[in-house]
């Protein structure tokens, strides 16, 4: 595990050197500015709008952080051949891939934490309790969803033949992962069993990100913190599905020819 952690930390350092975090931080700061503007538009509902758009910004920043981190790593690996240099050292392939996933997650956590801090400062400046307990819980679950997305992106970066293809597949999986729960509900009303079955299969196979979306019921979080099922199942799902996808990615990665 030590090797994985060392690789992850090196990846974070490397991404920082690539100015990825600088660009993302500027985007995140811009998003927080947009949150302030949109909250202002909401007038009396400023607090609600500030929280909702704040969480949306956190989710969007998480998506771009993970995607960009993996895309840059894949580009360096395939185009600049950094992988060959890395394999000279006594590390296993699985450690490289796991380190890459963990590195992207660490960067995601850094970015999301700084955004939450920025929103807290914004709330303090405007005299609003923007970042309360419910907000923090919802943000933690968005980060958990982001960690799963890191595994999904790593999986596609192993599977796809080019950098744009990997980015496209990952983006598509991320978008689809927000729709499948509602698609299942929608198709329940249909008479066609085959359509229902196909959608249910899609729901099982694709990563489900709406399970981590607690922000749609933000007002209910505080009163339900003792109800373990709501908060426990998504984490268990993320662990199991992430483990499965990482296992498949490692299996393919072990046999990948560079």
């Amino acid at each position: 595990m030590r090797e994985v952690l060392v690789i992850a930390l090196n990846i974070v350092r490397q991404l920082l050197r690539n100015r990825i975090l600088v660009v993302l931080s500027l985007c995140a700061a811009g998003l927080v500015g947009v949150v302030a503007f949109l909250g202002d538009l909401g007038q009396e509902a400023e607090l609600r709008l500030g929280r909702d758009f704040g969480l949306l910004a956190v989710e969007a920043a998480g998506f771009f952080t993970v995607l960009l981190a993996h895309v840059v790593l894949l580009f360096e690996e395939s185009e600049l051949k950094t992988y060959n240099i890395l394999l000279v050292r006594p590390v296993e392939r699985w450690q490289v891939l796991a380190g890459r996933v963990l590195g992207a997650v660490l960067l995601l956590l850094m970015n999301e934490a700084s955004m939450v801090a920025l929103l807290k400062a914004l709330g303090w400046w405007r005299g609003l309790d923007l970042v309360n307990q419910d907000f923090l819980v919802a943000a933690v679950y968005l980060a958990a969803g982001g960690a799963l997305f890191s595994v999904v992106t790593a999986f596609f970066s192993v599977l796809a033949s080019s950098v744009p293809a990997a980015a496209m597949f990952a983006t598509f999986a991320w978008a689809l992962g927000h729709f499948t729960t509602n698609l299942v509900e929608w198709t329940q009303r249909l008479d066609r069993g085959t359509v229902r079955g196909a959608v249910r299969l899609l729901y099982w196979v694709t990563p489900n990100f709406s399970l981590f979306n607690l922000k749609d019921s933000l007002d209910q979080i505080g009163s339900s913190l003792t109800v373990g099922g709501i908060f426990g199942w998504p984490l268990l799902y993320g662990t199991l599905y992430g483990g499965l996808l990482l296992g498949l990615a490692l299996w393919r990665y072990d046999r990948k020819e560079f």
């Binding site: 538009l41 927000h178 199991l240």
Partner: protein
């Protein structure tokens, strides 16, 4: 890439199969638990309102209904804030816009109450206001603040300003009352030509709020009510002999 399923050690294949089964189980259980927990469920479980925008439908399908409701609410405020929309059948899309907000998130009761205030006492369309309340209550029957508005609309139809204000009094006293209601409830006095009632109401509003728009509306309302009272009290001018 040369990976084949036969190259996967049996124990690894078993482990991956167990992880897949566990993931499906956790997904099913988690979805069920969250469905039972969520107060309103997905917007798609409610009847689709007329003229629903594609953006809202897409957002509802993509599990972003709350933020889409916020976006739709900004649309409402912008629509009301544009004077040119008075020519659009006297702000004719207000009911549709606020219904869309509540369809996306019935828990956004502030928007519902504000929409009812605008329709009922701003645009004087109590039938549409009652329709908005009916939709809101159908989607959120536990919201305890709508019945007061419904009762006030009943008094409004009978042109009973005291009844309207009495029904809305608990709501008007709340710190989170929609400011649109504060700005518009005084109009019912003038409609019924109760200038004393209007003067008392607007003076009360001026003491109660510091919101610049509401203060300006209260000052205008007070001036209008005082002018009407002066006109009522002035002795009738004798007709000039031809």
């Amino acid at each position: 890439m040369t990976a084949r399923s036969s190259e996967l050690a049996p124990w690894k294949a078993l482990l991956l199969a167990a992880l897949a089964a566990g993931a499906v189980l956790a997904l099913e259980q988690g979805s069920r638990a969250q469905l039972a927990w969520r107060r309103f469920g997905s917007p798609l479980s409610r009847a689709l309102p007329q003229d629903l925008t594609r953006t809202s439908l897409l957002a509802a399908m993509g599990s972003q209904s709350r933020v889409a409701a916020d976006w739709a609410y900004i649309d409402c405020l912008q629509y009301l804030g544009e004077p040119a929309n008075a020519e659009d059948a006297d702000f004719g899309r207000v009911l549709r816009l606020y219904t869309e907000v509540l369809w996306l998130d019935p828990g956004f009761s502030h928007a519902g109450r504000e929409g009812v205030s605008v329709l009922g006492w701003g645009l004087k369309r109590p039938i549409e206001a009652a329709e908005l309340i009916r939709s809101a209550r159908a989607w959120d029957p536990l919201e305890a603040r709508y019945p007061a508005y419904l009762a006030a609309l009943g008094f409004q139809r009978k042109l009973d300003p005291a009844g309207v204000i009495e029904a809305l009094r608990p709501e008007l006293n709340r710190p989170d009352v929609p400011l649109q209601l504060l700005r518009m409830a005084g109009n019912v006095y003038l409609q019924a030509h109760d200038t004393d009632g209007a003067v008392t109401y607007w003076r009360w509003v001026l003491q109660r709020t510091q919101d610049p728009l509401t203060v300006a509306a209260a000052r205008r309302g007070l001036e209008k009510a005082l002018a009407m009272r002066r006109a009522d009290q002035a002795p009738a001018k004798p007709k000039k002999a031809r």
